[in-house]
């Protein structure tokens, strides 16, 4: 029999904005605990909120073994590691003051717009300890900004969004992003349908990366129901396309706990799923890894008191050796800020409306484009039409910030 304690602690201070003013302040201090018992190939779990009572939870976890949930996998052994991303967060008072100043500047500069939603600072701790000499501690200290904007004359409920997530509260970067989007918002451009380089910002999995969530899922892949099933080792995509699963802040600015809910982690916190166009492996937890003999990627997720289950972690598309200028040349590009609601057909055809995009030319945003449609196919997006992630920044706000793909684009 083995025993394991798993905990998540979240301390958050959140500032809510409504109608361009600070409307509320929210404090959270939440601790979630789970006690896991492994015995004879089964797992029993008991969970609680607040202060942990180990003796009480252990008894409940033993009782939960009666549910006969199979878990014949080796638990993580002999792993002791502590990792911290971000330093001490600024005080609530300073955070509020900086936010008031940011909002004041936005309101004075961008008088055509109203701002809402929230800005928060969070300390999150993930902890796993078991009687096989394992103790893993991950601490994240970060700031998350998500500001929704609306033009005062607009009939929409919202017109767009700008945000940031980082270990420092850099309000000047947030302001620059707002300036870039809002200064060009009123310059409404016409658009000629055709093929354009399309830029998808960040690691947004609501765009074309969503196909890999389903089709690289270890269970879907292993049972033969993925579009890519049985094709490990084959070159399916462009030589330039490398898809990583990463929890590395140092290399990719990813703010995630370094180990999964089973205590698995990668050296350097990163593992390729597709490398130079070659399909390397699906993402897996211990169950799917053992069931199908796939490499373990450390993608076990779930509620704090659940049996760990498979879910995708952060996807990062590796950058190329080319600059923005080398990739785009003198072509005009479409930079997408909001493209929600699109999807793939089962065989890989992709279509999505683009709710907010800007035309990019000569290193800057020129103006706002009308609502658009984008169309392609998974093998084209990451194959012949994949232009890459530039090694420098497209918007000039982060080290790297976008994936460029040739696509058919048309006005809605």
């Amino acid at each position: 029999m083995n025993k394991e304690i798993f905990q998540i602690i979240n301390e958050e201070f959140s500032i809510k904005l409504a109608n361009s003013k600070i409307s509320s302040l929210r404090k959270k201090d939440i601790q979630k605990n789970a006690f896991r018992i492994y015995k004879d190939g089964f797992i029993g779990i008991a969970g609680s909120l607040g202060e942990i009572d180990e003796e009480f939870l252990e008894k409940k976890a033993v009782k939960a073994l009666d549910n006969k949930i199979p878990y014949p996998y080796e638990i993580t052994k002999n792993q002791c590691k502590t990792s911290s991303i971000g330093q001490d967060l600024i005080s609530d008072e300073e955070f509020l003051k900086k936010t008031e100043e940011l909002l004041d500047r936005l309101n004075k500069k961008h008088t055509d717009f109203t701002f809402s939603n929230s800005i928060s600072k969070t300390r999150s701790v993930k902890f796993l300890r078991n009687d096989e000499n394992t103790e893993l501690v991950s601490e994240l200290n970060y700031y998350e900004t998500g500001i929704v904007f609306k033009h005062k004359n607009s009939k929409n409920i919202i017109d767009g969004f700008f945000g940031d997530e980082d270990i420092v509260y850099d309000t000047s970067r947030i302001e620059k992003m707002a300036d870039m989007m809002l200064d060009n918002y009123n310059n409404e451009l016409d658009f000629e349908d055709g093929e354009y380089p399309v830029v998808f910002l960040t690691m947004d999995t609501t765009g074309p990366l969503m196909k890999f969530i389903r089709d690289l899922h270890g269970m879907i892949f292993g049972t033969g129901s993925s579009l890519f099933s049985g094709r490990i080792g084959e070159k399916l995509f462009s030589e330039n396309f490398t898809l990583l699963q990463s929890a590395s802040y140092q290399d990719y600015e990813v703010i995630k706990h370094f180990f999964d809910n089973e205590g698995t982690f990668q050296e350097n916190f990163t593992i390729p799923l597709i490398e130079n166009g070659v399909l390397k492996r699906p993402y897996t937890d211990k169950k799917t890894s053992e069931m199908f003999d796939f490499e373990l990627t450390g993608s076990a997720d779930g509620d704090f008191d659940s049996v760990p289950n498979l879910n995708y972690e952060t996807f990062v598309v590796k950058s190329s050796e080319k600059t923005v200028e080398e990739i785009l040349g003198n072509r005009k590009a479409v930079i997408i800020f909001e493209a929600s609601g699109g999807d793939f057909t089962p065989d890989g055809k992709y279509a999505s409306p683009v709710q907010l995009s800007y035309l990019y030319e000569g290193g800057e945003l020129i103006g706002r484009l009308p609502q658009l449609n984008i169309n392609s196919h998974v093998y084209d997006i990451y194959g012949k039409d994949f232009l890459g992630v530039p090694k420098d920044s497209i918007l000039g706000l982060r080290d790297k910030d976008g994936m460029v793909v040739n696509m058919e684009v048309s006005k809605i």
Partner: protein, 446 residues
Amino acid sequence: MYRFPKGFYTDVRIEDVFETAISVTNDNLDEKKETEYEAAFIRLFDGNRWFYSSTTNINSIQNEIDKLSEMADINDEILGNQIVKKFQVNEGEFYKFQEDDNVRNIDLNKKFEVISDYFDIVKECEYVKMWKANYVDLNIRKSFFSSKGSKLFFDYQKVGYRISWQLADGDERFDESFDVSANIFESIKNKRDEMKEQLDKSIYFLKNAVNVEPGKYTVVLSPLAAGVFAHESFGHKSESDFMLGDKTMREEWKIGKKVGSDILNIIDDGNLEGNGFVPFDDEGTRAQKTFLIKEGKLAGRLHSVETAVDLNEELTGNARAIDFEFEPIVRMTNTYIKEGDKTFDELISEIDKGILIDTISHGSGMSTFTIAPRIAYYIKNGKIDKPVKISVVTGNVFETLNEIDGLSDKLEILSFTLGGCGKMEQFPLPVGFGGPYVRVRNLNVQ
């Protein structure tokens, strides 16, 4: 009872939560658990700002109230504040789910049996490469106390399951699921025939579906698709927190304005059974039946206390939080399109070339709404034709509501068993949605 400090409005919401989750993948048990906890959300208002605290220690509620009051400014006139004046004061016990109707009192193995009844159907199907069965239930007993005198006890419950499957045949792939959702355990059992029918439909789709020829089509939305359409295309625009202090929106969304075709009625009602059954909201306001659109004209909108005051309208009982970690914001409950007067066959027979959307995987809505269909069919010469693969259906909300030209005569209220509605950071909120079959002209299909 709590000591509410003078000079503020304060309320406390305590949630006593019970939930069950059972999950089976390809005949392997993944999860079988019951979770119980108590936690609280506290709000304090000084007339200028709100101060919130979420805690898992219900013994510290008084301490949290006191700490919040130290962050705020004492307001001697707080009782005269329009928002504070608008709060309803309700008292009493309103527990609906008692004894055998309460999922807390049902044996875990009986819950497992409900889903295991379907395992043989998916196991025996040669095209099913992977299947999953999820059972979930949730019972929350809420206690609500306010400094104005509310002392309210009520409950919420939902129960349901999803059987989902991934099909493969050669190079063809297709995913589909069968969802059952209700408020009472007894009403979700024994749906084998319906589930089998859904599986057969998905196999037919896998083997026969053709890629859509992109273009504009007249589209008939199933009650499922119509409900999501109502929720996404118009429901979110009826949430009044988007209108706080916004003159343009108030002008644009004046009550009485024509916004859709004459046959269109959209309603939100927290009194109806379904995932959106919310007899009181999280500010202690009673649920109302609210016409959002009546005969094509804007008839009402959804409110919290704050938005009702801002727009000088009546409360509707739509301030909801997904759980104890969040403040209530304006959300939908059960939102649906009212039925019309045509039979389903009449709706279809009047179309020369169109699309029928049967099931969907998701929808979204800003000024452009989207629906990502799963099972869909061409309609040709007034008849349902080949199944068709579609990535996404889109339309401009403001134009599309005027393009509705036919409604069938039977209303269905539905819910997604897993997931729910998302708004900013709060996801997933259980909601109900539905409608009849709805015919819409000129939708963009890709």
